[in-house]
Point group: D3
Chain length 245, copies 6
């Protein structure tokens, strides 16, 4: 990661430095788990809701389910975006992100040990400065753990059915340089944009890398992995201070 | 308003007492005006967005437009509510409320003096403990005033095109007693539920009263008006400390 | 109500005079209750349909339900309006009106005494000259009473589960004058538009007043109430000649 | 057509006898042409609306367009049918019928002689006792002719751009017998159901025959044609008393 | 059918000559019956899928159901057509065709003898050169027979519950001449377009004739019937070589 | 890649062996480029359609656009899947895939050199045995190149505006072993599933790896990259025999 110290990023960060993280918890009094997850100016409300039934395809199998929904408030962005409810459908980007969030959380959940119930995760971005899907995953993990803790308090579960911590961060190539946790300005001029989801033990859960401008090679991929590993470890450290798995 | 002092409400308030009000402002860095409007445990993000064009029916008439959208996060409520974007349409309650908010704001806006532009108001309820539509109106007014102030700063307007302050409060009959600013628990057992929107000078803009259980008479209506007038004056007082019209 | 005699309205009526009322009944041979409700040139087909089941939220509670739908034929209006079925959704105005009609009828229905069944009310405006929602309520009440009478004939009910008569009328301020039962021409230039729903005993069920141009004070509200009370009493008198509650 | 005299139909008609026809005209005061078309207990409101523009594919070609929409009120039928606007889409049967009505009317309209405008035809069935699509066509022709007559009155057209009269009737095989103008009871037990649209001169415009129960041969087709020809001539005779083409 | 030999059609065929027919079978390895049906350059994939349940209206009646869906790939046509899935609804033409295909197949199916199951027919046009709905019916019949044969192989049925063969062809009038099996070029300039569905024994199942340009008389109808009968017999001959009913 | 020789896959392939590839070209006579792309039993029709205009956001910028749509026929799969057009919306998986296909193709297209036009890519899966998205990309590249060649033939372009070849393959971990080009059976039991898109020069364009069962480490990622690089080079070799870039 040589050179990381020299590059001056738009907000003065080093190449390998994630933005300040802040977690407000609990944040919504009715939810079974809830956080306001802030990474720099990106702010996401993540809630977990327990429903005592499972989707039809899982009925009577002794298993549970974790699913996620994602949305942005219309003015979370620089320009106002049309509300999906008034357009009458969720866009492709929304569906892609919420499928990712749900899949990632299920990768560390022992669905056989959570009972026949569904945990609904809602990630609502109230301010978007890049990295909303990774902040959603990192925050949603905490809300999910809190919902499980509530089930233990209610004596509906004996132990938290999570196999590891889970966090996510973006990496990318901007102006020829690899860097971690891109803000919106960096993201909008990135040559490569990659989202990494890893467990507390540093195992990969999701890798999603895209080059719309140009392409990238194996060495760059290795560099992204190293930067991402490091950033995610810091997020997991923060999670460990808040919840125990 | 005799008897207001004696009645003990679920949260200990007097019959004529509104809940604690808190305004965080600005709240979303990209919006042209934004507040987090809190009335007790009801919390609404209100943003104003300037768009430099008008809807087709107003084109080339030298007038502007103010319109509003309203939504609740899925877990703003006791039980999780299905997301309207995933259901594919906005419900009747949502459409009714956002039509009300837009209409109320237009009643104190001089559309001929705001230029050929639209102000979009977004009211997103993040926690719902009753009175979300009235909190939306009271908070949206501040966001709207801030958006107009921004246009003055940008020298696009000379004076704020608002003719008066505007605030709203609910009143109702619960257990046979009239009271102001119902929380969710009161609202869910009310015999009559009424929403009042008034200007700073105490003129009526909207009156919407409904009796689903039983009916009400003219004397009760008079009582509601007096309670509402009083509550709204306190909200306008708060608005006057924040914005100048 | 001084001055009511002097004002000359567009169709020559006095300020406190409702339009000629005509009810054709039954109007649709298959319906369980049906009227063609005419108030001046406003014509609405109101039907009641009995369904021997209730919505999910009421199942096995020993209660019934009354719900309403509203629509306008495309050419009920001066200009042809696009059909909601071809647009793929009902508009906000439609949803608002049908919620109002259903709520108003439920206010005088003893849902515990009507059995576990639903009465569907359909109000289809075939010609719209102002006051379509109030004509819908007044006409729907008759269709509803007829459907209950049919259930008595079929020995499924012992007495009509209605607690009172129910009718509605519009009031408003036009050119600075208060008046009752606005026709389209008056409605389109009104400063204030209010819809009142009352029982046969003159108790209020719904009050919905809106000022898009300007505002209104408490004295005007009182005036609207008096005009509305009078108009509704005439409609209830007509209802009493047709149905017994 | 031997045997037509002997068969006793459910309503006492002969095999070759159409139901009593009644036309109320004009029926809706705002429309440019309107009729209430009654064939027995089938009642359809047909309106014509002039719009001074054409669909995109016809722009600047010096031609006009005639298009139709069809719907049934929810309680036009024995059992209440769900409203298409609330289901969010028009069903296949509706689309099929409105495409048929529009196509049939265009077959007798000289689109080059009607100016660059669209005539919208709306057929709304208020009571359905079989044959609603054929009653729609027969009634819509009159409304269309009236709209053209209005354009002549307004000196926007010099002559009515219709090349012939146009009417429609159903024929079918019920209990092994061919018959004309089936009522709902006959239609619901028919082996073959056919709709015929013909001009005043007896030329065919549409033939739509369907056998869901069993099949039919060429001789039966010939029989249907003869019955249909006869029934349509009676409808055209009625049209000639009302409008001149 | 005199004169059929003289007319030179755009592709050199005689008036009474259908296009070369080719059937690839089976075509999709997962389907319970599948063909690629080619008539000239028109190519349709027809599949049959067995589902071991029936629609709600048939439940517990000891009967089965056959239903069909139809679609065209976006570039099956000269110009690319917008995908119905991205438009959010199936068009009127699509619904009309799939209703026709399902109805036609049911006319030769003994629904009482097929067990309480549904056969889903999917007709997907991959290249459209006229006559896609008739090719769909002719091909779908083979796929349906194959699905029934599979049920016999699985010992779920004892005999094929089809009462006859079934095929379809278009006929029409082009440039004043009657002809069979119109290709796209002929279809787009036809005065009359008619689709005929008949059984192996030459009985009619569906007749759908339309004149958008001009009209047609009884003699022409007779001519269409003769041409269609002949064309369909050739298609049935081909079917008899492939499947036994 | 040690061990690749020993593992016996369900269809007898080696770990590093892609399935037999077959390309039928052209496949649809109307399209501007079209292939039937077969990888084993996975079969996709890929067409390219030239439209001489660009989406609104690109208007008057001298640039072109490449966009893609993806769908599966209902019976492309083991069990019949409901048609998206009849459900009324495209699912999340569909939207995700078509966004991927479009993005990947744009990565090797010089949008500044293709003129102000859009190339629409349609990928319609007619038989799905795993790897439909990667087969879509590999096949769509050929259709795209053919559409550009057609523009050169029409003298609308001087050279093919593609900067490199482009192909895609899936890799994954099944039963603890890494392997390339998973068939459906392998895919449905994979611990890790990854899709790789690379250029002819072996540069990465997209990396999308997912672990729903368990997780994966950096060494496994390196292994996937090597297997994918190799598989894609074979596909590019095939492309080079067909089209020149």
């Amino acid at each position: 990661m040589n050179g990381a110290e020299k590059l001056q990023r738009t907000d003065g960060r080093r190449r390998d430095e994630i933005r300040p993280v802040n977690v407000v918890r609990p944040f919504i009094k009715y939810a079974d788990g809830s956080v306001l997850m802030e990474m720099g100016d990106t702010k996401v409300i993540c809630t977990a809701s327990i429903e005592e039934k499972v989707p039809p395809f899982l009925r009577d199998k002794g298993k549970g389910w974790v699913t996620a929904e994602y949305a942005m408030l219309p003015r979370a962005t620089h320009e106002r975006t049309q509300r999906e409810a008034s357009r009458g459908k969720q866009g492709g980007r929304t569906l892609e992100i919420q499928r990712l969030v749900g899949r990632a959380l299920r990768a560390v959940t022992d669905m056989s040990a959570m009972g026949e119930r569904t945990i609904w995760i809602d990630c609502d971005v109230i301010q978007a400065d890049g990295g909303t899907r990774t902040a959603s995953i990192t925050g949603a993990f905490i809300a999910l753990a809190d919902a499980f803790a509530k089930l233990i308090d209610q004596q509906k579960l004996k132990k938290i059915p999570l196999t590891d911590y889970l966090a996510a961060v973006s990496v990318g190539k901007v102006g020829g340089e690899s860097m971690v946790d891109l803000c919106y300005e960096e993201d909008s001029m990135a040559e490569v944009d990659m989202n990494l989801v890893m467990t507390g033990q540093g195992r990969l859960v999701e890798v999603q890398g895209t080059a719309e401008r140009g392409t990238f090679g194996k060495h760059e991929l290795d560099d992204f992995m190293a930067l991402g590993w490091d950033g995610i470890q810091r997020l997991v450290k923060m999670q460990k201070e808040l919840v125990t798995v």
